[in-house]
């Protein structure tokens, strides 16, 4: 993926299977957020071009016309971002936003409402909260509404770009728990992007470590976290402060 002549992402291979959470770890500037945009077909919105191949269930995404991509976004590939308040238009109630998204993907009014309410309960939020405006919900709640929307749309893949970085630790724990449930209960695939290695270690089944646009190491989470092969990974792991245990 490039900005003009500058190549910012150069990924050989990165895959996410059904019911799997794959972590994409790296520091800022490593290109991990760019990868999200590329998958969603939104790279051109920041002035970048994409070359190569991105496949969803064997179907090529790169080069698809915008109309087709719009159909895919949300319903098959959903995304949540670091700042949940930016994902919702502050002028509309969150419920309205959710319903509109569902209707656009072909659901009728009552069907849509039913799904959304069920999804809300699935993320442990009362459907009453749908009547609220984004400013009336906390960061953690908004993030869960965003996840509920992905669930309601029956998205197969969820791209989560630093979804918990701006949340309190206790709220983060809740959201992570939720993502785990989605994987086990609903078989959702998640690409979890974060600079927080500890979160990735706890949540993800497999991990890819990115540095300056390339993946330097990839593999099962346990293995990478305990026995990293690449010096950059080792360096990152060594930098994470740990709560010291004194006997």
């Amino acid at each position: 993926m490039s900005f003009g002549a500058r190549n910012v992402v150069n990924v050989d291979h990165l895959g996410v299977d059904d019911a799997e959470i794959v972590g994409l770890a790296g520091e800022s500037g490593s290109g991990k957020s760019m990868t999200t945009l590329a998958v969603l077909g939104l790279a051109n919105t920041v002035g970048a071009t994409v070359a190569g191949s991105i496949k969803l269930d064997g179907r090529e995404l790169v080069g698809l016309p915008e109309k087709v991509l719009i159909g895919l976004r949300g319903s098959r590939i959903a995304a949540i971002f670091q700042s949940p308040s930016m994902a919702f238009n502050p002028v509309f109630r969150v419920g309205d936003v959710a319903l509109r998204a569902l209707r656009r993907h072909g659901l009728t009014g009552s069907e849509a409402t039913g799904r959304v309410e069920q999804a809300m309960r699935g993320v442990l939020l009362s459907p009453d909260l749908l009547r609220r405006y984004p400013s009336q919900l906390s960061g953690g709640q908004l993030q869960r509404v965003a996840i509920a929307l992905a669930v309601a749309l029956r998205a197969e893949v969820l791209l989560a770009d630093e979804p918990t970085s701006a949340l309190d630790v206790t709220v983060q724990a809740e959201v992570l728990e939720l993502l785990r449930e989605l994987r086990s209960r609903d078989g959702m695939s998640v690409l979890f992007i974060s600079h927080d290695l500890a979160v990735i270690a706890e949540l993800c089944d497999r991990v890819a470590v990115m540095q300056a646009g390339s993946i330097v190491e990839q593999g099962p989470a346990d293995k990478i976290m305990s026995a990293p092969e690449h010096p950059y990974t080792a360096d990152l792991l060594a930098s994470v402060p740990a709560i010291e245990r004194r006997a």
């Binding site: 003009g4 190549n7 990924v11 969803l56």
Partner: protein, 299 residues
Amino acid sequence: MIEIPEAPAPAPTPAPAAAQGSRGWLRSNPLLAVGGAISALIVIAAVLAPLIAPDPGDAGSATHPFSVLKPPSAHHWFGTDQVGRDILSRVIYGARVSPLVALFVLLIACAVGIPLGIAAGYFGGWLDDVIMRLTDIVLAFPALLLALALAALLPPSMTSLTIAISATWWPWYTRLIRGQAASVAGRPYIESCRALGISRRRIIFRHILPNAITPLIVQVSLDVGGVILTASALSFLGLGAQDPTPDWGLMVSEGQTYFTTDWWVVTFPGLAILITAFAFNLLGDGLRDLLDPRRVILR
């Protein structure tokens, strides 16, 4: 399942260096270049008026009864007016009148607006309320009408014009600066300065002022055109410049009775107003783009 297989790999190249040197700068700031060039020309014309005007005496109270209302010709490029004066010379000398008024008006507006704005924005509280209410009162009057009223009260002259327009102009700058100052005052680095024990006076002059003033610079250049138009309008109505001052607005006013038969008397001064206002507008637009804070950070 989602897969991102191999992407072709051109070797990473550094970002193309921002256009270097003056030529690159010109290319990336066409508005600024054009506006700046024309504005500069106008200023030069004003300064060098006695040297470039073919008939400098005509800018004053000369009359030439035998050359009345001559159309544009090789001898008089812009023709002559109703008392036989060379219009070209008067237009050139006019560059000294309106822009000078604009200069003083804006200087006064800044001299009043900046201190008031900073005081209101930085200190807040009752001072802010008082200053803002004062500003609101003045702003409640339509600017042109207010200027009109003031100019009508004072003996008609360029000075009165300047005073009248300044009186309506300062509130805008006060508001602008106040907003900026308040915003800057709330930023962490100001809090940092306070925590470091840096004196209030230094905070205001060294930190608040430079950071608050950028939009004002842009606004001022945009306003030059605006003031010139206002001054011309008031002169047109007879409230500012008086004959024989070669003010463009006045020239348009005096020439309007002859418009249908001798179009040049009105047209050239009118064009002068148009081009000047336009040039400074371009300059302002260009400056705004140049000074855009986002640009500063991206550097």
